[in-house]
C-alpha cells in the first residue's frame, strides 16, 4: 500500500510533531509514503480566489497522478479542498478548461483518476492490520474524538463519512484499545479558520469545544487535522493530542519518536494498567 504523501503547509514549521507521528505510524504499519515537492493544497487561498484555490489543488492531484498513486493527507482541510476542487471542475466546464490550460503549461496531466484519502480512511481501510499491530493498548484512555469540518461537510462533495453520524474516527480510535466517548459537540468547528480574522469568535468556538470535551469525561481530545490541533493546542484544560500520536503509543513507539513531551500528565493514565 503506497500513497503520495501530502503533509500540507503547516506541518514543517507550525506542527512538526504531526509529520513525525504520521511518518512513524505509517512506517510501523507498512504504509508506504512517497514524497514529492507538493505545493499548497489551495485551502488557505480559497477566501481570496476560486481559481487560485482550485488550481493549487488540481496541481497537487496531477502530481500524484503522475506518480501513479493515490494521495494521502493527514489534514482535514487539505483533504476537503482537494475534494472541493475536483467537485468544482466536474460542475463547471469553463473552469475545467482554464485549469486544463494552466496544467498544460506545466506539462501536468489533468487529474482524472487519483483518489484523495485522509489518514483516518487509510487506517480504516486496514483496520485488522492496525488492531493486530497494537502492542500496548491504551486501555484506560477515554477519548473525545474531534471530527473537523472540512473533511466531513459538505458530504456530497467530500465523501468522507456520514455527515450527521460519522463513525470512522471512533472506529479507528477503538482499535488502539482506547475508549472513544460519545459527546455532543464532536462535529462542531474548532474555530481555527477565524484565527487572524476574528480572534474573539475563534476563541469562543475553541473554548466551547474544549469545555464540551472535558464535560464528556474524556481524558484527551483527539484530533486528526493539523489546523484543529494548532487551534486546540492554544487552549487550556483538556489536553489535545494528535491521533497518530495516540496510535503510535499503542503501536509501542516512544513518546519522543512521536513528538510528544514524555512528561505530559495525561501519559500517566497509560501507566495504570
Amino acid at each position: 500500500m503506497r500513497y503520495a504523501y501530502f503533509p500540507g503547509c503547516k506541518i514543517a514549521h507550525h506542527l512538526p510533531a504531526h509529520g513525525m507521528s504520521v511518518e512513524a505510524v505509517c512506517d510501523r504499519l507498512g504504509i508506504g509514503l512517497e514524497r514529492t515537492e507538493f505545493a499548497c493544497c489551495g485551502y488557505p487561498v480559497r477566501h481570496e480566489s476560486q481559481d487560485a484555490s482550485v488550481y493549487s489543488a488540481l496541481r497537487g492531484l496531477a502530481q500524484a497522478q503522475s506518480m501513479g498513486l493515490d494521495l494521502m493527507t493527514p489534514c482535514k482541510c487539505c483533504f476537503g479542498n482537494f475534494q472541493h476542487a475536483s467537485h468544482q471542475v466536474s460542475q463547471d466546464e469553463n473552469l475545467k478548461l482554464r485549469m486544463k490550460n494552466l496544467l498544460d503549461e506545466e506539462r501536468l496531466p489533468f487529474p482524472e483518476t487519483v483518489r484523495v484519502r485522509h489518514l483516518l480512511q487509510v487506517l480504516d481501510d486496514s483496520l485488522d492490520t492496525v488492531s493486530k499491530a497494537v502492542t500496548r493498548p491504551l486501555r484506560n484512555l477515554r477519548l473525545a474524538c474531534h471530527y473537523g469540518c472540512h473533511a466531513l461537510r459538505p458530504a456530497a462533495v467530500t465523501h468522507f463519512d456520514d455527515p450527521l453520524a460519522p463513525t470512522v474516527f471512533e472506529r479507528v480510535a477503538a482499535a488502539t484499545g482506547a475508549v472513544p466517548l460519545p459527546w455532543e459537540l464532536r462535529l462542531e468547528c474548532c474555530g481555527y479558520p477565524l484565527r487572524g480574522r476574528d480572534e474573539s469568535i475563534s476563541d469562543l468556538l475553541m473554548a466551547k469545544k474544549l469545555s464540551g470535551a472535558a464535560a464528556s469525561g474524556a481524558d484527551v481530545l483527539a484530533t486528526a487535522c493539523t489546523y484543529c490541533q494548532l487551534q486546540f493546542g492554544r487552549g487550556g484544560g483538556i489536553p489535545s493530542v494528535l491521533f497518530p500520536q495516540l496510535l503510535g503509543l499503542a503501536l509501542g513507539l516512544s513518546p519522543e519518536a512521536l513528538g510528544l513531551a514524555p512528561d505530559a500528565p495525561w501519559l500517566g493514565r497509560l501507566e495504570k494498567e
Partner: protein, 527 residues
C-alpha cells in the same frame, strides 16, 4: 591625480559610503520582537562550512554549486594575488613579476575557471530562472565577465603590441644597437607572438643572437608568453596583416581597471553585496535551517540584506500556483523580500504595498523557502513578523479592509457599482436565481451556525444572519451583504449547507462573497 588613483579613490569612497548606508540600520521597531528561542545546534563551524563548501548552494542544485565554486576559486585568487599584487604578492614572494611563471599560467587558468563558472551560472539562469530575472541579475555576472575578458584582451594586446616591445627595450636595454634590436625583434616575433610591421629575418644565426640577448636582458622578468596560454591564443588569432596601433593596450588597460573599480564601487548595492552579506548571514545562522535563530534585530537586518536573488525560494514556493493565477509578483518570496525591505525603509508606494499585503497573506508559512535559501535567510521569521507588523499598521489583508467599515458604509460604496460575479460565466451562485428557489427562510442555516450561537446579539456582532444574507441575495441586494460581519466571520464549517433542507449552498455562497470582496479590492487598488 592619475586615472588609477582617482578611480581607486572614488571606488573606495562609493564602497564605504554605500556600505554605511546599507547597514545604517532601518527602523527595526517596525517588526515585532522575535520570540525567544533556544540556542541549540548553532555553531560557528557549521556556518563556516556553509560558506566555504557552499553546502546550501549544493542542496539547491549541482549546476549552481559548480558555477559558484568555479567562479569563487577562480576570481578570489585573481582578486588577491593579481589585483592586489602590489600589497600582497610582491611582499610575500621575493622576485615576483606578473610576467613570470607560475603567475602567468596561473592567471590564465584562474581566469578561465571564473569564466566557465559564470557561463554555467548564466546557462542555469537562462534555463530555469528567466521569468524571475531582472537587470541586476544579469549586470553582476556581466560585469565580472567583462573584467575577466578585458583582462585576457589586455594581456593579448600587450603580447602583440610592437609599441610595448619598443617601450620595454627602451627601458631595459637602452644601449641596444640596430642589429641587436633587430635580432631581439626577430626572436620575439617568432617565439612570443609580437606583431611587427616590417618583415623580420628568420635566419637561424640571427635568431640565436636574439635568444642570447633575450636570456641576458629579458628572460629574468619574462617567461615565454605561451605560458599565458589563453591570452597567447587570442593574440595568435589576430589576422596576420593586422599590427596593433599604439593605443590599443592602454584602451584595454583602462577598460580592465575601470570595470574593476566599477565593481568595487557597486559592491554595496543590490545583489552585488551578496558575497559579503550572505556569508555574514551564514555565519550568523550557524548552520540552522529552521526558523527563529538568531532572534535579534541585527540578525534580521543581516537577513534582509543577504538575498542573492538566486530565485530558489520562488522556484520552490508552496503558493507558486496562486501566483500563476493571481499574477502578483509579491506572492513569491524573492520579490516579496525586496518590497518588504522597501516597506521597512518607508520607501514603498501604495500600489506595491497592496501587492505586498496580498503576498504576505497568501503565504502559508510552510518554511520551505527558509529551508532552501542558499544564503540561509530566515525568511519564515520575516514573513511571520512582517505579517503581524502590517496588520498592526492597519494592513490586515482583504478581511481587515472589510472590517474597517460597517456593512452600511460598504453598501453605500458598492451599491452603485457593478460588482460582477465570481465564476466562469460571470454569474456565480450568488447571482443565480436558481440558487435560492428552494429557500423558504426556515432559518435552519442560522439555527445551526456556530458563529451565530456564540454571539449574544447576532444583529450587533454579525449584521446579518446566514438566512438573512440568502434573502438579500435572492432580492439581488449583493452590495448590501458584502460588508456584513457574518460574511467575514464565517468559520467555513459548512453546517448551514449540510443542514439546509432545501439544498441551498449557503457556505459556498459565503465563500463566493469573500472571493468577490477580494476581487473588488484588488481591482479598486485600495479601498
Amino acid at each position: 591625480m592619475d586615472f588609477f588613483s582617482a578611480g581607486l579613490g572614488l571606488a573606495c569612497l562609493s564602497f564605504v559610503l554605500g556600505l554605511a548606508w546599507r547597514v545604517h540600520g532601518r527602523p527595526g521597531s517596525r517588526l515585532p520582537a522575535a520570540p525567544e528561542q533556544d540556542r541549540r545546534k548553532s555553531g560557528l563551524a557549521a556556518g563556516l562550512a556553509d560558506i566555504i563548501l557552499l553546502r546550501r548552494t549544493l542542496r539547491s542544485g549541482k549546476v549552481r554549486w559548480a558555477g559558484h565554486m568555479l567562479l569563487i576559486l577562480g576570481f578570489l585568487p585573481l582578486l588577491v594575488l593579481h589585483a592586489m599584487d602590489g600589497i600582497v604578492t610582491r611582499p610575500l614572494f621575493s622576485g615576483y613579476e606578473p610576467t613570470l611563471e607560475p603567475w602567468q599560467s596561473a592567471r590564465n587558468i584562474l581566469g578561465l575557471a571564473a569564466l566557465a563558472g559564470l557561463a554555467l551560472l548564466a546557462w542555469h539562469r537562462g534555463r530555469r530562472l528567466l521569468p524571475l530575472s531582472r537587470f541586476q541579475d544579469w549586470a553582476l555576472p556581466g560585469l565580472l565577465a567583462s573584467i575577466l575578458l578585458t583582462g585576457f584582451l589586455l594581456e593579448a594586446a600587450k603580447m602583440a603590441s610592437p609599441a610595448d616591445f619598443e617601450r620595454m627595450v627602451a627601458d631595459y636595454f637602452p644601449e641596444a644597437d640596430s642589429e641587436e634590436f633587430l635580432a631581439l625583434q626577430a626572436l620575439w616575433a617568432r617565439e612570443n607572438g609580437v606583431r611587427f610591421e616590417r618583415f623580420l629575418p628568420t635566419a637561424p644565426e640571427i635568431l640565436e643572437h636574439g635568444r642570447e640577448l633575450h636570456e641576458d636582458r629579458c628572460a629574468g622578468c619574462h617567461a615565454p608568453t605561451a605560458t599565458a596560454f589563453a591570452s597567447r591564443a587570442l593574440a595568435d588569432a589576430l589576422p596576420a596583416r593586422i599590427v596593433l596601433p599604439r593605443t590599443v593596450p592602454p584602451i584595454f588597460w583602462h577598460l580592465h581597471v575601470g570595470l574593476s573599480f566599477l565593481a568595487l564601487a557597486l559592491l554595496p548595492w543590490g545583489k552585488f553585496l551578496h558575497p559579503l552579506a550572505s556569508s555574514a548571514n551564514l555565519v550568523a545562522r550557524g548552520g540552522r535551517r529552521d526558523s527563529g535563530f538568531p532572534a535579534t534585530a541585527l540578525g534580521r537586518n543581516l537577513a534582509l540584506e543577504a538575498c542573492t536573488r538566486c530565485g530558489q525560494c520562488s522556484l520552490h514556493c508552496s503558493v507558486a500556483p496562486s501566483r500563476r493565477v493571481l499574477g502578483n509578483a509579491d506572492i513569491l518570496p524573492m520579490d516579496k523580500l525586496a518590497d518588504l525591505r522597501s516597506w521597512l525603509d518607508r520607501s514603498l508606494d501604495d500600489a506595491r504595498l497592496t501587492d505586498l499585503v496580498e503576498g504576505s497573506h497568501v503565504c502559508t508559512e510552510c518554511l520551505r523557502c527558509t529551508q532552501v535559501c542558499p544564503a540561509g535567510i530566515d525568511l519564515q521569521d520575516l514573513w511571520m513578523s512582517s505579517k503581524a507588523a502590517l496588520s498592526e499598521e492597519g494592513r490586515a489583508g482583504v478581511d481587515g479592509e472589510f472590517r474597517k467599515r460597517t456593512a452600511g458604509e460598504w453598501a453605500l460604496d458598492l451599491g452603485s457599482r457593478r460588482l460582477g460575479g465570481v465564476g466562469s460565466s460571470g454569474t456565480g451562485l450568488a447571482d443565480r436565481a436558481e440558487s435560492f428557489w428552494g429557500c423558504v427562510q426556515c432559518t435552519t442555516c442560522t439555527g445551526v451556525c456556530p458563529v451565530v450561537a456564540v454571539s449574544t446579539d447576532p444583529q450587533r456582532d454579525l449584521d446579518l444572519t446566514p438566512q438573512q444574507i440568502m434573502n438579500y441575495l435572492r432580492m439581488g441586494l449583493k452590495a448590501q451583504t458584502l460588508g456584513a460581519r457574518m460574511v467575514w466571520s464565517c468559520t467555513t464549517c459548512y453546517k448551514c449547507q449540510e443542514h439546509c433542507p432545501q439544498g441551498v449552498p449557503v457556505a459556498d455562497i459565503l465563500y463566493e462573497l469573500r472571493q468577490l470582496g477580494a476581487r473588488t479590492l484588488r481591482h479598486k487598488g485600495k479601498p
